[in-house]
């Protein structure tokens, strides 16, 4: 990536009158309701994601409290299933995805030298329909019969013939979430294609921009498939169709094929932007250019393409012909090659750099190690004959929490620590940050690592009660869970302090190894940036 110079062009045709009052920031609630400013919308997305993270986390606390000991203590099995279902939906659609969209809103225009997102009014809408979607989902928990209790994967016919009436609300809220995601993705694509500053060629774009561009295409490709799946669930349940009912000529396994055709690319939607973030942070604190920039771009693209041909590895036990099992096993194994390339590139970037370990770097290093552990257990899961043993056990739960919590969520935290001083103009409270990091790091491993053991020993997932041989580890897992949950309150305190603009003022560059357009505008970033495009050399 190249250094850019902020050449202020005297060309008045670029400089419209309405932009004269640069930092006239609207006040009050209407600023947030009617905003079309990418920075405001980014902030809204990030706070929304964090609140959802706490709500979904509270549900995880209910789950872990029930699983602290064998026997039923706190909740009934039916409510337990609602907790696992809504926890999953909230974390995927309410926490991780909106957080990445928030980061894209804040960063993509600043990184490519654009004044805002290309479609600012749609941007406002794509955020403001989200709280409604989650209110609908959460309110279904208070319905007679409770909320959705069929797992976030809503396999038919459990979600059709055998579900409660809240399924209608579930379907409606997923539709709204999907519309929001698609609008966000369209905005990212249009912005990147049309609004790059002069000289910002494709192969000069920061990797965060590249990974988000590819993610946006994945979103547009698969969110309609999810919409199709929920619509078929809706009509099967309420309008007498038989898409997933063998008695009417349908097939329940077809549901799983459709769901995972969405679901597997969805997994990469939640991790590709993380790769981008880590690829921004590691070079900064290594004071060295990213190793293998071009191979990083190609690796991201090949992961995205491969993600469309591996979906049935979630379904090895459904009874597929052996040649299909082989195909999906080999295709899945293949994904580890470009993913490995990424990890090797990060390590090579650090190699012979000049390393310092500020908080973004600490989270990035934790990401590399713990995400790799999740990736390696993913490689084990790809091997069909052993997947028969791992499938639907806590080994899988351990695997996807390593890639999603210590992967995606840690990358989001790394990103917040990295760009927060740019957003507020003040350094965050570094003492609180250290407490947050170390408490999270220790507790998250106490939480998720023993899940590998209970899974291998035979504990199925999604059960409210378990056999006695799993009791010791579950106690530790629950204690780790409570500690991890509490650790996030430290983060909350830090964020509140940062938003009140407490702390030492920072320079424009903030970190002494940071490169890229966003580090050349003042800190805090002005309300409007790049009214006149910078020229990238």
């Amino acid at each position: 990536m190249s250094k850019a110079t902020d050449v202020i062009s005297p060309d008045s045709s670029v400089h419209h009158d309405e932009h004269d009052h640069h930092d006239h920031i609207p006040k009050g609630i209407t600023r947030w309701l009617f905003t079309t400013n990418h920075k405001d919308i980014g902030t809204l997305y990030l706070w929304f994601a964090f609140i959802m993270f706490l709500v979904g986390g509270a549900m995880a606390m209910v789950i872990r409290a029930e699983l602290f000991q064998p026997g039923l203590q706190i909740v009934e099995p039916n409510f337990f299933n609602q907790m696992t279902t809504v926890h999953g939906l909230i974390m995927v659609f309410g926490a991780v995805m909106p957080a990445f969209t928030g980061l894209a809103n804040w960063l993509v225009p600043m990184m490519i030298g654009a004044p805002d997102m290309a479609l600012p009014r749609m941007n406002n809408w794509s955020f403001w329909i989200l709280p409604g979607a989650f209110l609908i989902l959460l309110s279904s928990l208070f319905m007679e019969g409770g909320g959705p209790a069929f797992g976030w994967t809503f396999y038919a016919p459990l979600s059709t013939t055998y579900s409660g009436d809240s399924t209608a609300l579930f379907v409606f809220s997923v539709h709204i979430m999907g519309i929001s995601s698609i609008m966000g993705a369209i905005n990212v694509i249009v912005t990147i294609f049309n609004m790059r500053a002069p000289g910002m060629t494709w192969m000069k774009m920061p990797l965060f921009v590249w990974t988000w561009l590819i993610t946006a295409f994945l979103l547009i490709a698969v969110m309609p498939v999810l919409a199709g799946a929920v619509t078929m669930v809706l009509t099967d349940k309420f309008f007498g169709t038989s898409f997933f009912d063998a008695a009417g000529g349908g097939d329940p396994v077809m549901f799983q094929h459709i769901f995972w055709f969405f679901g597997h690319p969805e997994v990469y939607i939640m991790i590709l932007p993380a790769f981008g973030i880590i690829s921004q942070i590691v070079p900064t604190f290594s004071r060295k250019k990213l190793f293998g920039y071009a191979s990083m771009v190609y690796a991201t693209a090949s992961i995205a393409l491969l993600s469309f041909v591996v979906w049935a590895h979630h379904m090895f036990t459904t009874g597929m012909p052996v040649y299909m099992e082989m195909f999906f096993m080999f295709a899945t194994m293949l994904i580890s090659v470009p993913t490995g390339v990424k990890v090797f590139n990060w390590v090579a970037t650090m190699w012979r750099g000049s390393l310092t370990f500020e908080m973004p770097m600490m989270f990035a290093i934790a990401f590399i190690v713990l995400f790799t552990i999740g990736g390696l257990s993913g490689l084990m899961l790809a091997i069909t004959p052993v997947d028969f043993q791992y499938h639907d056990t806590y080994f899988v739960v351990a695997h996807f929490h390593y890639v999603l919590v210590t992967g995606a969520v840690f990358s989001i935290m790394a990103a917040v620590y990295y760009w927060l001083p740019k957003w507020t103009g003040k350094m965050y409270d570094t003492t609180l940050a250290k407490w947050h990091f170390w408490c999270s790091l220790v507790s998250v491993n106490v939480l998720f690592f023993p899940m590998h053991f209970v899974g291998l020993a035979g504990m199925p997932r999604r059960i409210p009660d378990y056999a006695l041989q799993f009791a010791d580890f579950n106690k530790w897992i629950s204690l780790g869970g409570f500690a991890f949950g509490l650790s996030q309150l430290i983060f909350l305190a830090l964020l509140i302090k940062a938003c009140r603009k407490q702390g030492e003022p920072v320079s424009a560059q903030v970190w002494d190894g940071a490169e890229g357009l966003e580090w050349e505008i003042p800190s805090p970033a002005p309300y409007h940036t790049f009214d006149t495009p910078p020229v990238v050399k």
């Binding site: 064998p70 026997g71 099995p77 299933n81 319905m143 007679e144 019969g145 209790a149 797992g151 396999y155 013939t161 055998y162 009912d245 063998a246 008695a247 097939d251 329940p252 004071r287 060295k288 990213l290 190793f291 293998g292 036990t317 459904t318 009874g319 099992e325 082989m326 096993m329 194994m333 580890s336 090659v337 490995g340 390339v341 990890v343 390590v347 090579a348 190699w351 012979r352 000049s354 390393l355 310092t356 370990f357 290093i365 190690v369 790799t372 004959p385 052993v386 028969f388 043993q389 499938h391 639907d392 053991f453 291998l456 020993a457 199925p460 997932r461 999604r462 378990y466 006695l468 530790w476």
Partner: protein, 387 residues
């Protein structure tokens, strides 16, 4: 190769044990080691799967050690506080080709044994006997295809243990009233299907986990080497009591299995005769209510709840319901045949005429449903015959 993995496997089995030994007393150690890792199991296939698992595990550990080793070395050697000056390199085609090609070769090394094991596992041909396994909410049904023997297998753990009123016993949640019995040394084929939602029949010691899909039949097989009791669980979320539908399989020597089979066939014959005899007999209200309560609590209470109030919005209440108070024929019919499009199953296969008579009587007289109706086996038979 196999020996090598065996040796490494033994070392590995000890490794996590050493790491976590602080919360295991020495005495427990021998039993507790298996709560950390996959089991070798009781069939040749499950042994192969275990070897494959350990092979994968060590390759992954090896990769992790190398990658993290380099990274941690860099974090130590190349830190700014030690005066490290950043180098300038940022690409190297040879290195990049190497770390694309080498992982690819490792993958091929993994794929070959994996494919061989998979092909062996999926070969269901030339089975010595066949058992039809049918899942339903929340129990398993086993039917021996070469005889009349078929029965349901329900969780045997007492409700009071689950509710923490009694102390939990050793096989808590992993015990059933009637386990599946199969012979050792014979290739047993399992046909797996479901009556309602998707379940998954899993016995870890056989390395068999296959989904039970409604309307479709899956196949799996096991040839068990050692007699013993093998325990597993339903592995696919199947609704409220998904955690309470264990699988227990007893493997017996062929001679012992034949003897057991003979006994079961006798029991089936006697039960049929008993059924006929009961048609011409009437039970007293007390007998009906007592039997009905037993059947209700094992079969119906999971959904309709022990107090008959159901779960509002999910499972309808029987207490005060129109069906239980007025429509006696409809009541018997729905118990016999279920209600399509809902979770209400057909119980004509699972319960005897006497049991259905008793449970319908119970539901019409318990919890304040004081209709005074008595239903006899004959009445149930009449409805079943379409009279």
């Amino acid at each position: 190769m196999k020996q090598l993995t065996n040796v490494i496997a033994k070392g590995a089995a000890a490794l996590p044990f050493l790491l976590f030994s602080h919360f295991l007393s020495a005495q427990q150690a021998a039993e507790e080691v298996s709560s950390l890792n996959l089991r070798r199991g009781a069939t040749d296939i499950s042994g192969q799967v275990y070897d494959l698992h350990m092979l994968m595990f060590f390759i992954c550990v090896g990769i992790a050690v190398v990658v993290f080793g380099v990274m941690f070395a860099s974090m130590y050697l190349h830190r700014k506080s030690r005066g490290a000056k950043p180098a300038n390199f940022h690409e190297n085609v040879k290195v990049e080709i190497a770390w694309t090609v080498v992982p690819f070769l490792i993958l091929i090394f993994m794929a070959v044994p994996a494919a061989n094991t998979l092909i062996a596992m999926e070969d269901v041909s030339e089975a010595d006997m066949t058992v039809l396994v049918t899942g339903s909410q929340w129990k398993w049904h086993y039917k021996y295809m070469d005889s009349d023997v078929e029965y349901y297998s329900l969780l045997a753990t007492q409700r009071e243990q689950i509710e923490n009123k009694f102390e939990k016993t050793d096989n808590y949640l992993l015990e059933v009233d009637r386990p599946l019995v199969i012979p050792t040394g014979k290739k047993v084929r399992f046909l797996i299907t479901s009556d309602d939602v998707i379940h998954s029949w899993w016995v870890p010691d056989f390395a068999v986990k296959k989904d039970a899909n409604p309307g479709f039949i899956n196949e799996a097989w096991a040839k068990v080497n050692e007699p013993g009791i093998y325990r597993g669980q339903c592995a696919e979320l199947c609704g409220k009591d998904h955690g309470y539908m264990p699988v227990v399989v007893i493997a017996k020597e062929p001679a012992a299995f034949e003897a057991w089979m003979g006994e079961q066939e006798d029991i089936v014959r006697q039960a049929k005769e008993e059924e006929q005899r009961l048609l011409s007999m009437n039970m007293s209200m007390d007998e009906l209510m007592k039997e009905g309560e037993r059947v209700y609590n094992t079969t119906c209470a999971a959904c309709h709840m022990p107090n008959g109030e159901g779960l509002p919005g999910v499972f309808p209440a029987l207490k005060g319901s129109k069906m239980a108070l007025e429509d006696q024929k409809g009541h018997i019919e729905i118990v016999l045949h279920g209600k399509s499009g809902t979770a209400m199953q057909a119980f004509n296969k699972m319960l005897s005429l006497k049991e259905i008579a008793a449970v319908v009587t119970y539901e019409r007289n318990a919890w304040g449903n004081n209709t005074g109706d008595m239903v006899q086996a004959k009445d149930v038979n009449d409805v079943a015959m379409g009279n």
